[in-house]
């Protein structure tokens, strides 16, 4: 899967989402539950605002010294006998991984959930090279078996599916004979995937944080699949976005606490692991360890006005509070990165040509900004995107004409007044019972989903009423 999950236009994608009643119900209840759990976890910790400021400071310090920490990390990985590959582009990254796999003459790859491997289209590259690639995270595995249905949430990728759909996928693809109880479905997947873990030649994971002074990577998980992926195969390839790094275990600890509480409301998830290449005398763990550090557009982001977006620790808390995400669902964003953070970073990584609508998929209510554990000014960045899109002339011809007309109209009191006067007679034939019921675009878009009162006659308007009343009161303002 690439970053782009749907090539259809934005309106079609959102219409699909809004029309999917099950998905909307599932997203709504998931949001409610995750929101509450996050709030409870944050409150029970106490001093949450200070924790956020600390998280922000750690992320910003690391970004400001990113070249230093990346070099320290690379030196330490190599000192421990691992390999480091710096990939400027996604092609370089997935090409290197393919070369490693082929140099081992391996065909069986097991991986744990990682957004950046999706971004670099690694699975396609490996499958094209003749490998079997197994996603071992339960949610990702379900999606893979459903012909690589795209994920719809950063943390809970199969959020949009219900248990019956999952049972049907397992039944048709894996001859599953059981019922739709989540325990039974998970137990079945455990059995199938256990085999895959044991026979895999290569394990591929993402990286929550690289720990620079250790040359090790940190994984934060609940299922245990990430650890098996890194423990059993003889070769472990870890892929990280270049910004996902901390100086030491001490900073990692603060960020892991923020991540677990923000993502799922847990104090710590079941498994938090810091790992590197196998050492002398140890029996398991990788004999060969590769770390692939991916730029793929991140250095441009770092140089520009959106650099704070790189503070992101991928907790998904902004998705869980977003009213727009709630209604259109993750797939409508057309990107593996949905929700508010997706609307910020997808256009940065993929360009405005494909993704200029995403910054408008927001009510600018700012709930995302309030909830972000590392204080990324998300809604302000969405406004910044909109400013860029307008100033680059990327809005549609109709939009531009409308804005131009509105600008003229609103800057001339005379025109404004006469428009108000004409509004009622002009909408007469489009209205019924005091409501506008039909009209050309963009009016049709508006009245398709909400009421629009017909403008009142001039004599009933507020200004007329106010002037009359002022006269009646003898020129005094009430």
């Amino acid at each position: 899967m690439s970053m782009q999950t749907d090539k259809r236009d934005f309106d079609t994608r959102t219409a699909d989402g809004i029309g999917d009643a099950f998905m909307r119900g599932a997203v709504g209840s998931a949001q409610d539950s995750l929101k509450t759990r996050r709030l409870t976890a944050a409150t029970s910790l106490g001093d949450w605002e200070r924790w956020r400021e600390l998280g922000q400071q750690i992320r910003q310090h690391t970004l400001e010294n990113l070249d230093y920490y990346l070099e320290q990390m690379a030196d330490n990985v190599e000192r421990r006998g691992g390999h480091v590959y710096f990939a400027r582009t996604k092609e370089e990254a997935s090409g290197y991984i393919r070369d490693v796999v082929q140099s081992k003459q391996a065909t069986k790859v097991v991986k744990s959930k990682s957004m950046v491997t999706e971004e670099i289209e690694m699975n396609q590259v490996l499958m094209k090279a003749g490998c079997e690639v197994i996603e071992s995270d339960l949610g990702e595995y379900i999606l893979q078996e459903d012909d690589w249905d795209p994920p719809s949430h950063i943390v809970a990728p199969a959020l949009h599916k219900n248990r019956e759909q999952i049972r049907d996928v397992f039944a048709s693809k894996l001859s599953y004979k059981g019922d739709e109880t989540p325990e039974h479905l998970a137990g079945f997947a455990r059995k199938v995937l256990r085999e895959k873990f044991l026979e895999a030649e290569i394990g591929i994971t993402g990286c929550n944080f690289a720990v620079a002074n250790m040359g090790a990577i940190n994984l934060v998980t609940n299922e245990g699949n990430g650890d098996l992926t890194a423990a059993l195969p003889k070769t472990h390839i870890a892929v990280m976005g270049m910004e996902r790094i901390v100086p030491t275990l001490e900073e990692m600890e603060v960020l892991d606490n923020l991540l677990c509480r923000s993502a799922v409301g847990q104090k710590l998830t079941s498994y938090i692991t810091v790992m590197g290449p196998r050492e002398e005398g140890e029996s398991d763990g990788p004999e060969e360890f590769h770390l692939v550090i991916v730029d793929n557009g991140r250095s441009e982001i770092l140089a520009g006005e959106f650099w704070e977006a790189l503070q992101c620790i991928r907790c998904g808390a902004c998705l869980n509070v977003c009213p727009v995400y709630r209604h259109i669902g993750g797939h409508a964003y057309g990107s593996i990165y949905p929700g508010p953070i997706g609307a910020v970073i997808t256009p940065l990584l993929g360009g405005y040509d494909e993704y200029k609508e995403l910054p408008y998929a927001s009510s600018l209510c700012g709930a995302c900004t309030d909830v972000c554990p590392v204080k990324i000014p998300l809604h302000e960045q969405l406004i910044l995107h909109r400013q860029n899109i307008v100033s680059q002339g990327r809005t549609g011809a109709i939009d531009r004409a409308q804005m131009k007309a509105a600008g003229k109209l609103l800057s001339s009191p005379r025109m404004f007044r006469s428009t108000l006067r004409l509004a009622n007679p002009m909408t007469k034939f489009m209205s019924k019972h005091g409501r506008v019921v039909r009209g050309p675009a963009p009016l049709s878009g508006w009245i398709g989903v909400r009421d629009m009162p017909q403008p009142v006659k001039e004599r009933d308007g507020f200004r007329t009423w106010y002037e009359n009343r002022t006269k009646k009161e003898g020129g005094r303002l009430p």
Binding site: N65, E71, E250, S270, S283
Partner: protein, 236 residues
């Protein structure tokens, strides 16, 4: 063979790394930073302050309460009763096969289990993994214990592999009271101190908080996914 040599048309590793890091420095609009960077004084100490004032007894209570939320049974025992507590527990989990670490504390406390398999360097990769996969129960000693999150911290060593914690169906960790610290902060600070002083702490730090779980199907919690299905801590 080093796979990097396959990479046709790309510059050498060092050049690649240099140009990558130079580009990062350029994005930051300054020259490359190669002198050691000092971490700033962090503006808050919330991580150090949280639960720092609790007594050892209070920490045990916090640990026990948290274990309820992470679906982990806690059994209080004593060094003298430890053998029989563990025997009962192993019976309760349906008996062996049992795999355990080669932690010296098993000997210190005079523990022995008939038919157990001990993870060891001599057994080798394949045999250790095969035995762990076949095991019904894994038995280990915690290196650190985090009260707040109900977490046992274990370091990988020749006698304590990684898969030991994940392949068996049931997981038992023995916790010495003296290993209990308030939260992750103290354990990570101590480990970082050991790393900075040049100590080799092994290739892997496992922080384990109860059995594996997933909420990937309709957000409903399923306890027991890829890792252990059940977990018990024995407190001595």
């Amino acid at each position: 063979m080093n796979p990097r040599t396959f990479h046709e048309g790309s510059s050498t590793d060092t050049e690649k790394r240099e140009s990558f890091l130079n580009r990062v420095a350029e994005s930051l609009k300054r020259p490359r930073r190669t002198e050691p960077v000092r971490r700033p004084d962090w503006k808050h100490t919330v991580h150090l302050d949280t639960l720092a004032d609790r007594t050892p007894e209070q920490l045990v209570e916090i640990l026990k309460e948290q274990c309820f939320f992470i679906h982990t049974q806690v059994i209080e025992s004593t060094p003298a009763l430890l053998q029989s507590t563990l025997d009962d527990l192993i019976d309760g989990y349906g008996g062996g096969p049992l795999i355990r670490s080669g932690d010296p504390r098993f000997t210190e406390y005079g523990l022995s289990f008939s038919g157990d398999f001990v993870w060891s360097e001599q057994a080798g990769r394949q045999e250790n993994i095969r035995r762990a996969e076949a095991a019904n129960i894994a038995l280990v000693f915690a290196d650190y214990t985090l009260a707040e999150s109900g977490t046992v911290v274990l370091l990988s060593r020749p006698d304590q592999g990684r898969a030991l914690h994940f392949l068996p169906a049931h997981y038992i960790a023995v916790i010495e009271r003296k290993s209990i610290v308030p939260r992750s902060t103290q354990a990570m600070t101590d480990l970082n101190r050991r790393i900075e002083s040049g100590e080799d702490i092994g290739s892997c730090i496992n922080m384990i908080s109860g059995p594996s779980n997933s909420a990937d199907i309709e957000m409903q919690l399923v306890v027991g996914v890829h890792g252990p299905l059940r977990a018990t801590y024995v407190l001595i």
